[in-house]
């Protein structure tokens, strides 16, 4: 085959991926970053303003207060997932991989089920469950004499974000579980036998042998959680609308961006500032992933058995 024909063939096979990836991923990303350097005038023209959109976003109190609020809330959202979702996923995976367990497949399916449901369905169902008027949660707690614990969790500034985060945890706990479960299954039984002969019980073998071996998977789960959480939008929008109330207490980067870019109620859409927020989101996620790739992952060893 001649060199030209070979290059042509390469181009033909690469083209579909390159075209689709460029059109739907690279172009929008670059266009957004490009947009964030311009200010759209009332007459419809765009004016290059350099970094001034970003200065406004970070220093003008009208912009910076909502931005930092959303950033703080988003960090909290991520923290709750890291501290609740992933440890529970780990424990569930450890339980699922116990040698003597009946109904393994049933548990696995049931726990994974919410992940497959639509976020809108989840959001709506939980709104009904937690409703102070006729929610089943209130009746359920009262049945056990714990009715005094119930509160309008979704309606109070102090608990709205926490409640939504926990609903999200409930929905997505299946993903870390499945990833960690798969990693645990790859550990050969003989290794645990060796640990048993060395005097470790099941729990100690998990802590000292299995856990160090699945660290790469835990890292992967963490970085996936981070990316997903800082891109989150749908559950909060489904339950609380774009205002992410009460009083923006559940506002995260995604909902802030949505309001600014597309406009909401009396707020007019502002594509330039919206793009600036989107670019900030991109930078935050990029930073997080870079830290993972260059600082954490390099120190981790992957093991083949």
């Amino acid at each position: 085959m001649s060199r030209t024909a070979y290059l042509l063939l390469l181009a033909v096979f690469l083209a579909p991926a390159v075209i689709i990836y460029s059109t739907f991923s690279i172009y929008p990303l670059l266009a957004t970053i490009f947009n964030s350097f311009y200010d759209r005038q009332d007459d419809g023209t765009s004016l290059f303003v350099g970094l001034s959109n970003f200065t406004t976003l970070l220093s003008d109190p009208t912009w910076s207060a909502p931005f930092w609020n959303a950033f703080r809330n988003n960090c909290l959202f991520f923290l709750i997932h890291m501290c609740v979702q992933n440890p529970i996923g780990l424990v569930l995976a450890a339980l699922l991989s116990l040698p003597r367990l009946n109904l393994r497949a049933t548990y696995r399916t049931l726990i994974f089920m919410p992940t497959m449901l639509s976020v809108v369905v989840i959001g709506f169902s939980w709104q009904l469950i937690l409703s102070p008027l006729w929610g089943v949660a209130k009746m359920f707690l009262s049945f056990f004499g714990l009715g005094f614990l119930f509160g309008p969790w979704l309606g109070e500034e102090s608990t709205a974000l926490l409640t939504i985060s926990l609903i999200s945890v409930w929905q997505f706990v299946g993903i870390p579980m499945i990833l960690i479960y798969t990693a645990l299954l790859a550990i050969p039984d003989e290794l645990i036998d060796a640990a048993t002969v060395d005097g470790l019980n099941q729990f100690q073998a998990f802590i000292w042998v299995k856990l160090p071996l699945i660290l790469p998977t835990l890292g992967l789960v963490s970085v996936l959680t981070f990316v997903n959480n800082f891109n989150a939008f749908d559950l909060i929008y489904a339950m609380k609308g774009a205002l992410a109330g009460p009083n923006f207490s559940a506002d995260i980067m995604g909902t802030l961006f949505y309001r600014v870019f597309f406009g909401n109620q009396l707020q007019l859409g502002d594509t330039s500032m919206g793009s600036a927020i989107a670019t900030m989101m991109f930078l935050i996620i990029l930073t997080g992933v870079m830290i993972y790739l260059f600082v954490i992952q390099r120190r981790m060893h992957r093991y083949s058995f």
Binding site: P188, E190, D193, A194, T196, V197, D198, Q204, H301, F305
Partner: protein
């Protein structure tokens, strides 16, 4: 070191009986090899001794102590696994010291024991390496080192050589034999390789379908197999079996011809018997015993020796060892003989008749 006594041990998974009434004595300081075909229960028996599998019935003592209900770590055993089962996230030293650290052994003692094991196994330059930076043979030595530092009463080996290539396997086999002498250790060793069994063992235990078929010194099993299974399992190529029946005093009709043998007096005319002759005890052409007519099917030449596959008039194929350079080719009609003294006789139930 200690002796292991297994008394009427049974093991079943649900209704499936894996081990049935196993009685076995492993003498102090002896090297016992469990052999048998896949699924015969030899690995399960080893895991029962280790305590990794609970036993369903019967008992077991190690060094006079009943260990039936003790966890593996309390049985004073050490095990070398088929896949070596080294901890991938620890270096060689960490792997060897791990169990000791868990047992609360003083640090100086751990250092000393690891250094000693490393010296015996020539692992000193590798102590800081992780398992994945080691070759198969080195991993094997680390696995043995991990066993040595525990100073166990009994070493258990589960097919330790099966993951090594042929050349390394022979070397390691010799190393293990030396190690046994050096440590004066009691060893129970599982393999499906009868060469390993014959060369290493003080006592071979042949297992089949969850039972012990015969236990004894390697050459006893070779010269006096207790039944057809052991006769067919020990020796390579396998023993030739000729079905026949007793026709008269000292005479057997087998392989389509009448043969004169020295039969024990317990054989009556009409009894069904099986004659067993090892390939190395058969001779092409003249022999000091009965002759069979056969046609050459194939000759495998290995150099100094070779194996002739011979088709008898009944259609059965027997294998005979040939020394030197046989002149025969496929299709030749020849006669093959064997020494009646070297012929094993088994009764209808497959038991050896003396």
């Amino acid at each position: 070191m200690a002796e292991v006594l297994i008394d009427k041990l049974c093991k079943s998974y649900g209704s499936a009986e894996i081990l049935k009434d196993i009685d076995l004595k492993v003498e102090d300081g002896s090297f016992v090899v469990l052999v048998g075909p896949s699924g015969c229960g030899k690995s399960t028996l080893l895991r029962c001794i280790a305590g990794l599998e609970p036993i369903s019935a019967g008992g077991m003592t190690i060094g006079g102590r009943q260990v039936k209900n003790l966890p593996p770590a309390k049985r004073e055993i050490a095990m070398v696994f088929q896949s070596y089962a080294l901890y991938p996230h620890m270096d060689v030293k960490g792997n060897m010291a791990f169990g000791l650290r868990f047992a609360g052994t003083p640090k100086a003692e751990i250092e000393a024991r690891v250094a000693e094991a490393a010296r015996i196994l020539q692992l000193e330059p590798l102590l800081k390496r992780r398992p994945r930076e080691l070759s198969g043979g080195q991993r094997q030595r680390v696995a043995i080192g991990r066993a040595i530092v525990r100073k166990p009463q009994v070493f258990l080996f589960d097919e330790p050589l099966s993951n090594l290539d042929a050349a390394l396997r022979i070397n390691t086999r010799v190393e293990i034999a030396k190690l046994h002498k050096l440590l004066n250790a009691t060893i129970v060793y599982v393999t499906h390789d009868q060469v390993e069994a014959m060369t290493l063992a003080d006592k071979i235990v042949v297992m089949n379908k969850g039972r012990i078929e015969q236990a004894g010194k390697p050459l006893d099993l070779y010269y006096k197999p207790a039944n057809l299974f052991v006769a067919g399992f020990i020796g390579s190529p396998a023993m030739n079996f000729l079905e026949g029946h007793v026709t008269g005093s000292g005479r057997v009709e087998a392989a389509g011809s009448g043969l004169t043998l020295r039969l024990p007096s317990s054989c009556k005319p009409g009894d069904k018997v099986t004659l067993g002759v090892r390939p190395e005890h058969m001779n092409l052409g003249a022999a000091p015993g009965p002759l069979l007519q056969a046609q050459v099917d194939l000759i495998e030449r290995l150099g100094e020796t070779g194996y002739a596959h011979l088709r008898l008039p009944t259609g059965q194929v027997v294998i005979s060892e040939v020394r030197g350079e046989p002149g025969h080719v496929t299709g030749d009609s020849i006669s093959v003989g064997f020494d009646p003294v070297r012929c094993h006789i088994f009764d209808a139930a497959g038991r050896r008749i003396e």
